[in-house]
Amino acid sequence: MRRLANILAVAAALVTAFPIYWMVLSAIKPAGEIQSLDVSLWTANPTLDHFVRVITGEGFGRYFLNSAMITLAVVVLSAGVSFLAAVALTRFKFRFRTTVLIMFLVAQMVPVEALTIPLFFVVRDMGMLNTLWALVAVQLAFTLPFSIWMMRGFVAAVPEALEEAAMIDGASRFTVLWRILFPLVAPGLVASSVFAFIVAWNDFVFARTFIISAKDNQTLPAALLVFFKPDENDWGGIMAASTLMTIPVLIFFVAVQRRLISGLGGAVKH
């Protein structure tokens, strides 16, 4: 039984990981080998040509930075803002509390791409089109409802007595909130940060719609389109750019994976 499970697990792991492997491999294959019709699952002549072309030729270094800045801003802001909201929703009893909760729940299902149309005009009227702030703002809006919903469970799990004890010891409300409670909900922060990270880093539709002419403000997913040529797609370039785009998320995931799984497990209990 266990042997069968092992075989299945390894087979599934191989199939699942293969596209990623193929992406990285194609990114370091010389152009001639990509064009070749022979099947080869490795390359004897790895090259960084595609990366050089992507980064220096098409300015992907800049786009990488843009994506990274947006994502960082969204993750940090979303963690702080959703933590505060979660505290409000768990530590206080007030009118409309349930209403507010339901609204956050409903907000999660809003098809964000359908909102592109009105958001385009809203962001335009704010004078923020073509800027990175526009992307930070909309991504933040889309991650918050889910993050709040998730954080709520984690805040509730921390005994209130802890804060009361600290207050009695003379700690200020600020200290209690940010020095005591905030670190205690770390697993929840990890889980909601993963979510915010993915949403912000992967965004394609808003980057495509909101960044109109400011070439310097493009993000990775939208910039990738330049390699889809009208005649022949530049697969080497596409794969190199895709690799650039995947590595940071991969590192982030591996770094937090233990906490992520315990975070999700935590969400299960609540």
């Binding site: 385009f120 089109l129 109109i212 009208p230």
Partner: protein, 410 residues
């Protein structure tokens, strides 16, 4: 309490009816980055080189100016880009290349500034191609006419002659694929609207009456080319014009309906030096099909932040020297009369294209509805449905004709 709260909120919001565009943001800064949108094209390198040269010349005398070029796809996805720029004047580029088919819609959207063409040697029919309601919205940059490219080596080997009618074209294409199964008889594509229009027009059809017998005759003839015996639908149904250029240039097809502007792409591929051009034939033997009088313009956006600089750049890149250079680089036929006559005298390449023009050209409807038809992929959908046998010619053309009517708001 709750009700009151909601009512107040509603009242406040109801005041915000959808807004129309903010007042045009434009300006006339003399320094900074000039943003230029140019079309992405098959084998773009020679075009990039000429443009880079123009930028160098332009910035040499203007040290405080940088020119930044962004490439816009030629597929219908370009409309999304342009609409974005019209909707938010603050984000608009300064200069943009645009196809003359899109002019009516772009003018209605108020996207481009008027340009005074007096004193420039632009031929009258070219001036007309940038004019809407008596106003000129751009500098015609080049003429784009399609003709039939064919592989001289293949034709010679098989003892074939360039076709002089659509019937012959079909037969020739079939013969080639039969004798050389790894070649497509002709490269045609389901998403290649401008490749299909000569067939439609030659049959006596019109875009505004896609369900007429003439249109159907043309649609049938064009889609008959997308069969396993000529250009298998598996491969060809989804091809855009750019991809058919690639097929012909890489030596995978014996014929192709390509524009003069694709010359450099063909010369860069396996077909280099082994091709010739004749006008696209019509249904009657010895006749020419009316060709699509395409061409691209350079325009200054109405909300350009560097109005004067933009105009100067347009006049430089669209001027005689660079029109000639673009011809050498890409095969773009100049719009300036003098430049064109010089060329026709010394280079035989332009002959078949200009012959085609002389026999009559046609154009897409000069109406904002055309962009809707183009963006809605009405004609490609019609061609693809027939080619993939999802609909008969009658069904597909009837459906397309209805879509065209809707686009015109009828």
């Amino acid at each position: 309490m709750k009700v009151v709260y909601c009512a107040v909120a509603l009242l406040a919001l109801a005041a915000c009816a959808p807004s129309t565009a903010p007042a045009s943001g434009g300006g006339d800064e003399k320094t900074g980055t000039l943003r230029v949108w140019l079309y992405d094209e098959p084998n773009r390198a020679p075009k990039d080189k000429v443009v880079a040269e123009a930028i160098k010349e332009f910035t040499a005398s203007r040290p405080d100016v940088k020119v930044e070029v962004t490439h816009v796809p030629t597929t219908p996805a370009r409309h999304e880009k342009f609409k974005g720029a019209f909707n938010d004047p603050a984000s608009a580029p300064d200069v943009a290349e645009f196809g003359n088919t899109d002019l009516a819609e772009y003018a209605a959207a108020g996207g481009f500034a008027e340009i005074d063409l007096t004193g420039l040697d632009v031929s009258p029919e070219q001036v007309e191609s940038v004019t809407v309601d008596g106003k000129t919205y751009g500098l015609p940059w080049f003429i784009g006419v399609r003709a039939l490219y064919y592989r001289t080596d293949v034709f010679e080997e098989l003892g074939l002659k360039p076709p002089t009618s659509i019937g012959e074209l079909t037969e020739t294409a079939r013969t080639i694929r039969k004798k050389k199964p790894d070649l497509y008889g002709i490269a045609v594509g389901g998403e290649y609207t401008y490749g299909s229009l000569p067939f439609l027009w030659s049959g006596g059809g019109e875009i505004t009456s896609l369900d007429s017998p003439g249109s159907r005759k043309g649609v049938k003839a064009y889609t008959d080319l997308m069969t396993d015996e000529i250009c298998p639908p598996q491969a060809c149904a989804s091809l855009t014009g750019g991809k058919t250029v690639e097929l012909f240039a890489s030596g995978k097809a014996a014929m192709g309906i390509l524009g003069n502007f694709s010359r450099s792409a063909v010369e860069a591929g396996a077909a280099a030096g082994k091709w010739a051009v004749v006008p696209v034939p019509g249904f009657d033997k010895g006749s020419y099909a009316p060709v699509f009088a395409g061409g691209n313009n350079l325009g200054v956006m109405k909300s350009a932040k560097h109005r004067t600089l933009a105009l100067e750049f347009v006049k430089l890149l669209g001027g005689k020297a660079y029109q000639a250079k673009m011809y050498d680089a890409m095969g773009n036929i100049p719009t300036l009369t003098a430049a064109r006559e010089e060329l026709a005298a010394k280079d035989a390449f332009v002959r078949p294209f200009l012959d085609g023009v002389a026999k009559g050209t046609k154009f897409v409807p000069l109406d904002p509805a055309w962009v809707k038809i183009d963006n809605g992929k009405v004609i490609p959908t019609m061609l693809q449905k027939v080619a993939t046998k999802k609909a008969t010619v009658e069904e597909a053309t009837t459906e397309a004709a209805a879509a065209v009517k809707t686009a015109f708001g009828q």
